[in-house]
Point group: C2
Amino acid sequence: MRTNPFAHRGPHEDAPVPLAPGPEFDLIRRFVAGQAQGERADVRVGAGDDCAVVAGDGIALSTDMSVEDVHFRRDWLAPEEIGWRAAAAALSDLAAVAARPVGILVSLAAPPDDAGDYAARVMAGCREAAEACGGVLLGGDLARSPGPLVLDVTVVGEAPRPVLRSGARAGEELWVTGDLGGAAACVQALLAGTTPDPAARERFARPQPRVREAQWLLAHGIPTAMVDLSDGLVGDAAHLSAASGVAILLVPELIPVHPAARERSRAKSLRRALGGGEDYELCFSAPVGAVLAWSDAFERTFGVRLSCVGRVGGGDGVWFVDAEGHRRPTGVEAWQHFGGGAP
Amino acid sequence: MRTNPFAHRGPHEDAPVPLAPGPEFDLIRRFVAGQAQGERADVRVGAGDDCAVVAGDGIALSTDMSVEDVHFRRDWLAPEEIGWRAAAAALSDLAAVAARPVGILVSLAAPPDDAGDYAARVMAGCREAAEACGGVLLGGDLARSPGPLVLDVTVVGEAPRPVLRSGARAGEELWVTGDLGGAAACVQALLAGTTPDPAARERFARPQPRVREAQWLLAHGIPTAMVDLSDGLVGDAAHLSAASGVAILLVPELIPVHPAARERSRAKSLRRALGGGEDYELCFSAPVGAVLAWSDAFERTFGVRLSCVGRVGGGDGVWFVDAEGHRRPTGVEAWQHFGGGAP
């Protein structure tokens, strides 16, 4: 997973870990099962959100692992891009709770031949991503790998008022930042051996965690629940649904498909935008009308558009909804590391 | 490395990262080189210590990666032991700054065949180690590995008064907890295809991070500088030396060699105890007489002995010293992941 869902339950919650269905999340539920649930003043937010939040002041923590030939291929990316992507994926989890980044810790396992320049360039990319979000390199670990390059990035941020996945209420609107499917379009081109569209490649190689955007939204009192889009909108919205105990109703016509992800078949474009993953945009719920009052200012400030993509309804699960309010299955699967599903 | 040395410099320091010499640490110095040094109220302790410490109240953070066939072999350890060891190594970094553990985040990359029971058992070992130290599983990540099992454990603790590596002063005593060389004796037996001594195996498979011991020492105002022993006393004392700007003078006759690590040749025993690594004991400096006043109480409380192993002198480096105060090279090398040296 690209989020941070298998944590200790905070003192205020006692339910099972509210993650979406799926074999990967079943495994995570198993990891956490039976963990002592006692009241801990030092754990404010635990399982099932993008970050854990600890300590009285709210320190948000999340970790994100990138493995060669699983999350990236060396022939597709420069070492700086490998580092940037790994760090950006983790920083995006801070954005998802509207935390202010303090820094990152980077563990790097590298084959001995890559322990010099190559490792230094990967690390430079990590640092660059952290610094772009106002954080610093706080520490890490360095190990030898007998095979793949492995990067694990832990992010640390201040989140006195974390925006959780559990705050969505029926009747609210559902919004996303930016365009979806660009990274997936790049990956598809690379897999097909063709040259990706430069804009799509940029989305894949240099994703922009929406850290400042999230803090702005929080400062304007907008999001009631938030998640970042690492596994695709359908998959990540399922976490909002599970954590908030609501249904997520997507209007397919409203999904902002990245220009480079558009196909002649609208259905194909949508599958990319909804299931492709690695967009690292934000998806959040907000009271009706709360976003419209501020969307121009947001777009002027960040040059990133906001799109209403549907609404929050009663029930559970993630659905397509039509103008009459009829729900139908999306037919889109989220990426699962174990147990199939693919972008 | 097993420590957390390549962090951003805290606001009060501007020197290069004060790590011991060595190719691995050269690489880390390179990672950090040129990082903006500006004053950050949110980063209290950065590079060159066992943990970074962030936020006003002092949140200690460190991360420690374990890679199959580098740090452990599956035929040597049960999956629970693999998890315990990985978590204990990271928790030991919290002990090194006398932090109180809040929890751990565990990233696990596993081949698809191990993503069920095996992964759950590894994670159970991680949790067990965290819970034994008063912490909980706070989160993590789960990824597919094309090859080795890789575990990265990030530890989070409260450290309002962290004990750093930089506080040792010439004239002070140098102490260690417990016995040294037991884990190395186990590894040597396993490598030789013989059955390890059960006590040595316990030291290797279930190392005990000295978390509560460190907090006790801090509460009694004892340590002026501290480090945990992951790479062997000589290697880790070199970090104390570099960070404090002092020489570490070891008296070979005083080194507490683990019973299972003793050989007929005293020199061989010493090499194990000083260079073997993975003991996860603590090494700390203290004013003359400060420990003796409390050592009985410590040993009664924890069942762990304290040994004075030498003293802090002027100059730099780590030396053997004789009764006349003559310094000579130790002839022991610390483990280096890149660039040779071995336990």
